[in-house]
Amino acid sequence: MRFLLKTSYGQDLALFRDGVQRNCYIALFVALLVLPRLVPEYVGDLSLVFIYGLCGLSLMVLTGYTGLVSLGHAAFLGIGAYAHVYLSQDLGMPWIVSVALAVTVTAAAGVLVGLPALRMTGVYLAIATLAFALIIQEVFTRWERVTHGLKGKPVQKVVLFGLPLGSDLSFYFLCLALLIGSLWLTANLLRSATGRAWVAIRDSEVAAQSMGVNLAAYKTMAFAYSAAVMGLAGALFAHKIAFLAPDIFSVLLSIQFLLMVVVGGLGSLHGAVFGAIFVAMLPVAISQARDAVPGWVSQPFAVFGKDAGSAVFSAVDRFVKQPGLEPGIFGLILVLFILFEPLGIYGRWMKIKIFLSTFPLYKHATFRRQKSYMRSERLR
């Protein structure tokens, strides 16, 4: 176990706790630089993980840090995506300008949602954002001049400063750079007064208010910032999927984002990234399970004869091939995490680290009190 000697106040403001931690992150960064060489066939999937990382970051600021639950973040992703594609392709703006404008437009949409949302908390806010997402999805369908409606809109490759960045590899680095940049900006906010005010709103609105936090202003700011990051993610997402259609930005996607922050671990930037990795891998895991599960389940029944085995196999097979199974699985995972690991994957990661660093002396009670994590949510 390492003990930290603090010798200046500035040390508490550093992004990395100590040299060891900084070196770990540098090593991770180098690993991400060489990763495309090691697994070239997964480069496309990895850039999707980075984009999901941005989405997780966006919702983490709003839900994990400010305590405002949103079930409509796919709408912001859609606004960012459509705005970017419209501005760059239909109006012919340079890539960087169009992304910047798309981020601004999405942030403005965030403010518009944030303003009425100020009076709502908890479940009511979730419902309001859900309604917003449904309305926006309808707008995507109807506003054909901009979005091409249900016909969909093909998206061209990235061209940055006249440089075509169309290949999967350059897109990978673009996504990585933007994710790291956004993580840095967000970490900056979180270590200064604004971030503290957000966390204060999450934990006790009345106390935050009497310490001088303007609740309306900071909640709106959280919405705007969260939407802005989502807008950036949307612009990249548009290039990633190469074809925009309104049904992509569905409620199911919003629920996946929520899944991301809860499973990753509410209230930590690590959690956003862990959650993104988890959610990006989940469909792969589900599709593999679909092939494997009928075999596993029917195997024990084979002892009752071949007919019994194949009957069970086909019954289970029919069940797992149902198209609507994914939302159910997402929901189940969400509930299980909230019940058994409220701090998410990040919480588990912390426990393993502490277990190893204190090895024979680990106390089971160290995390006893973690369940009351979001006090304000519990009271509502």
Binding site: Y9, L13, R191, S192, A193, R196, D203, V206, A208, R369
Partner: protein, 252 residues
């Protein structure tokens, strides 16, 4: 011009008149206490002063300015800080983080500066940290600086909450039942803290309190309430022996 003045303060919750025509003045540098049986409207007065509730009638003036309609988050900036009866700390943050939030009224950095964490933001953060450390020194909280609030005992939490209010650098400190839930020894040390806050920091204290030993140890003047109405105002001894007060507490 008085330091803090409430005139004809009243609030209705539906048909209930929780506070009804309460007037009092607090002089600079004194410890003024509001007492009364449960439900007398003491905490409601605090919530009116910190602007969580809007008064139905009456006026609040502080340092010569009318604060009756000031936004609740402006109150801290004007120099009024408070604690809560049931402790409203950020439980999953450390003591230090709680105190730093107390510095919010002195924020001084803008969003874009913070986004890039410019040198000015770093300097401001260190200034806030120094101010918080002064309060930590003042209230002897050094052993708890980095512990999470949920791991602290109730008595320490009470002191931490007071420390957070002191980080606002208030001119007027509102303490809502500083001794509730404390042992006899802890109540005694609370009395010393309150005296120190008044004598060494020169902060005026307005408090709600039940424990008469604490009240008589620190307070100059006492206002007794019953059913939202003032029944007696004067020194501790005067109020304690006032027939209306005895009747309110003992019945009859």
């Amino acid at each position: 011009m008085s330091f803090f003045k409430a005139e004809g303060l009243a609030i209705n919750f539906g048909g209930i008149r929780a506070v009804d025509g309460v007037s009092f003045e607090v002089e600079p540098g004194e410890v003024f206490t509001i007492i009364g049986p449960n439900g007398a409207g003491k905490t409601t007065i605090f919530n009116l002063v910190s602007r969580i509730y809007d008064p139905s009638e009456g006026r609040l003036t502080f340092c010569g300015e009318d604060i009756t309609r000031v936004a609740p988050h402006e109150i801290a900036r004007r120099g009024i800080a408070r604690t809560f009866q049931n402790i409203e700390l950020f439980e999953h943050a450390t003591v230090l983080q709680n105190l730093l939030l107390g510095r919010h009224a002195h924020k001084g950095s803008r969003f874009l500066e913070e986004l890039l964490f410019l040198p000015r933001v770093r300097r401001l953060e260190i200034e806030h940290r120094e101010a918080a450390e002064k309060v930590i020194d003042f209230l002897d909280l050094q052993p708890y600086r980095d512990s999470l609030i949920i791991n602290l005992s109730y008595g320490v939490r009470k002191v931490v909450e007071m420390a957070r209010a002191l980080c606002v650098e208030p001119k007027l400190l509102l303490l809502d039942e500083p001794s509730s839930g404390l042992s006899v020894e802890e109540t005694e040390s609370m009395a010393f803290w309150i005296q120190d806050i008044r004598n060494l920091l020169g902060i005026t204290v307005l408090m709600v309190e039940h424990d008469m030993s604490l009240v008589s140890a620190v307070s100059e003047r006492v206002l007794a309430l019953n059913y939202g109405r003032p029944i007696a105002l004067g020194t501790v001894r005067e109020v304690q022996s006032h027939p209306e007060v005895i009747k309110a507490y003992l019945g009859g």
